[in-house]
Amino acid sequence: MLSLRLTGIEMVFPGLDTPALSIPALDLPAGAGLAISGPSGSGKSTLVNVITGLERPTRGKVVWNGIDIATLSEGARDRWRGANIGLVMQDFHLFPGLSALENVLLPARLARVADAAMIARARDLLAEVGLARPGQRIETMSRGEMQRVAVARALLRRPGVIVADEPTASLDAVNGAAIGALLIGLARQTGATLIAVSHDPALIGRLPRRLTLAAGRITADQMPETC
């Protein structure tokens, strides 16, 4: 589990006068659960890109457990992200032609960190997300099943942080609720910090802290007690 501290973050894109993202300060303790919402273009994706190290902010520090990943090289950020962040994306980004198990293991294999223990863990995770056939080809699965595979893939390397970008947006209500419950449950179980970008009130409602963005700025940072 990792804690996050953002300081003086600004993301300026060429040709735009105002920064796409401007966050003077944000603290997130290890093991916290955070929902980020806001209208389209409000900077949610940019914020996710910055905190996962996919993009380097124009200014500011992105400190995860004392490491400012904004100072790391691109290769080092890739390695850091691979080891510390479990990413779940709206479009799953699974690879057809491979089985569920192969999909779960693919990033780890390409990063040359998959060993026998990790393969065993991949099988356990698939069972845990409710998939009984690890050898099933991905293209023969339903969307709900696909997102389960993506969740298992995100958790494979025991990440300290799970970042889910609109994880339920392309699923029906039943599957969306199931995936939301799965993410929250697994994050609690592993103690991982969970950051979910979402429009889904059901998912937002289950996370203790809610951040609202508009025009690249935090407009609300709530922690309702009834959670």
């Binding site: 890109n49 890739d78 992200r81 962040i85 990413l87 994306m89 980004h93 390409l110």
Partner: protein, 413 residues
């Protein structure tokens, strides 16, 4: 990684297949031309190996070689029989034997010659015996007849309006071992039989062989004894004389002597063929240029395919990067996939080229009777190796583009 590449290729099998085929066709074209040209050179050189010096009447040197070495039908002017007699008495000559053409049987040329020429140019019989009487015939290894069969020769190729020599029958007495030359398709008969069939006895005719006037097989007697010791007086005109000189120096002297003589000509078939090879070489250069242009087009098409290939995978690559896969691994992935496709194309093209050239050689060999050996030289393999190195470098360009691609940009794509 292998499984991922295979799955990816399976998913985009049509595009991958076309890419492999394009490469294969370009490579096959280049290899095929090289091999076929070499086969033609090797084959014709081997066909003329036993033909040190050919003496004929004045006329086309090339035709003299094509008719004697490759048995190409043509009306050759005749040299007087005295020339043969003179050569046979010449101490610079190991043997000099006549060759007479003009007749065919089922498309096989019937060649009149002597037992000494057969002994000097072949490795012997595979079955039966040499001819011993005027009506005996020995067949080349590729002639679809069997000892014991009888044949009626026709004057000129039947397909070209030739006519049968009535009353003439040869008995096949033996079959020669294969020589890999056009003579494997020949039916060899005693030269005296050819003379008798055509009524060419006793030194008549030194000009163009005009066969229309003497159709009668005047003196042909199938059972007459074989006679191969002639005197100048009883020798008719001869289309060509094959000469085995005693030494290389003698060969050059004889060639010189019979070149300056009136009405005779002497050629080294190898020399004439060298001239033809030069021509062949020029033709090959033209073909090679065409093949090169085709390969250039394919290379351009491949670059386009590679760009499309990367375009199709932008999101995939972006996702892999987002999931923490290091960019060198992405480079290796893209490079391996492209290079594997190119290698498959080159391998397939090489096999296709060799197979194509072999089939072409075989079909030419069946018709022309001589081997066109397909031989792969070390240079060909070196060429392939160079092609592989270039392919490896070219595949690196899209791989580099993928390596440089920002994971965020590709996820948005």
């Amino acid at each position: 990684m292998g499984r991922f590449i295979l799955a990816d290729l399976r998913r985009l099998w049509a595009g991958s297949g076309i890419m492999v085929l394009l490469i294969a066709m370009a490579v096959a074209l280049g290899i095929g031309i090289t091999l076929q040209e070499r086969a033609l050179r090797l084959g014709s050189a081997r066909a003329s190996e036993k033909f040190d010096l050919v003496i004929g009447a004045r006329g086309s040197e090339t035709q003299l070689v094509l008719s004697t070495v490759f048995l190409q039908p043509a009306a050759l002017p005749l040299v007087p029989g005295a020339v043969l007699a003179g050569l046979q008495d010449d101490p610079r000559v190991l043997w000099a034997e006549p060759v007479g053409f003009g007749d065919f049987h089922k498309g096989y040329p019937v060649v009149g010659t002597t037992t000494r020429l057969i002994a000097g140019t072949t490795t012997g019989l595979s079955e039966g015996r040499l001819f011993a009487a005027e009506g005996d015939a020995v067949i080349g290894a590729a002639v679809a007849l069997a000892p014991g069969e009888e044949i009626v020769p026709s004057h000129g190729e039947a397909a070209l309006g030739g006519h049968d020599h009535e009353g003439v029958r040869y008995r096949v007495t033996g079959r020669l071992q294969p020589t890999g030359t056009p003579w494997d398709r020949a039916i060899l008969v005693p030269i005296q039989a050819v003379w008798h069939v055509h009524g060419l006895e006793e030194a008549h005719g030194t000009g163009e062989a005009d066969h229309e006037e003497h159709e009668e097989p005047a003196g042909f007697d199938a059972d007459a004894a074989l006679r191969e010791d002639w005197t100048a007086a009883d020798l008719p005109g001869i289309p060509a004389i094959l000469v085995k000189p005693a030494s290389i120096a003698d060969a050059y002297k004889l060639r010189q002597e019979y070149r300056v003589r009136e009405n005779t000509n002497a050629v080294f078939p190898a020399e004439v063929l060298t001239g033809l090879y030069a021509l062949l070489g020029d033709a090959r250069q033209v073909l090679a240029a065409v093949a090169g242009a085709a390969q250039g087009l394919v290379a351009a098409a491949l670059l386009l395919v590679a760009v499309v290939h990367i375009g199709q995978r932008r999101r995939q690559i972006g996702a892999l990067r987002a999931l923490g896969v290091p960019s060198p691994a992405i480079f290796l992935l893209v490079w391996t996939e492209l290079f594997a496709l190119v290698c498959a194309g080159i391998a397939l093209g090489f096999l296709g080229g060799v197979l194509g050239a072999t089939l072409l050689s075989r079909s030419v060999g069946r018709v022309q009777g001589f081997d066109l050996p397909i031989e792969i030289a070390p240079g060909d393999l070196a060429g392939l190796a160079i092609l592989l190195v270039i392919a490896a470098l070219v595949a690196a360009a899209p791989a580099w583009a993928a390596y440089r691609q920002s994971p965020v940009a590709s996820l948005r794509a």
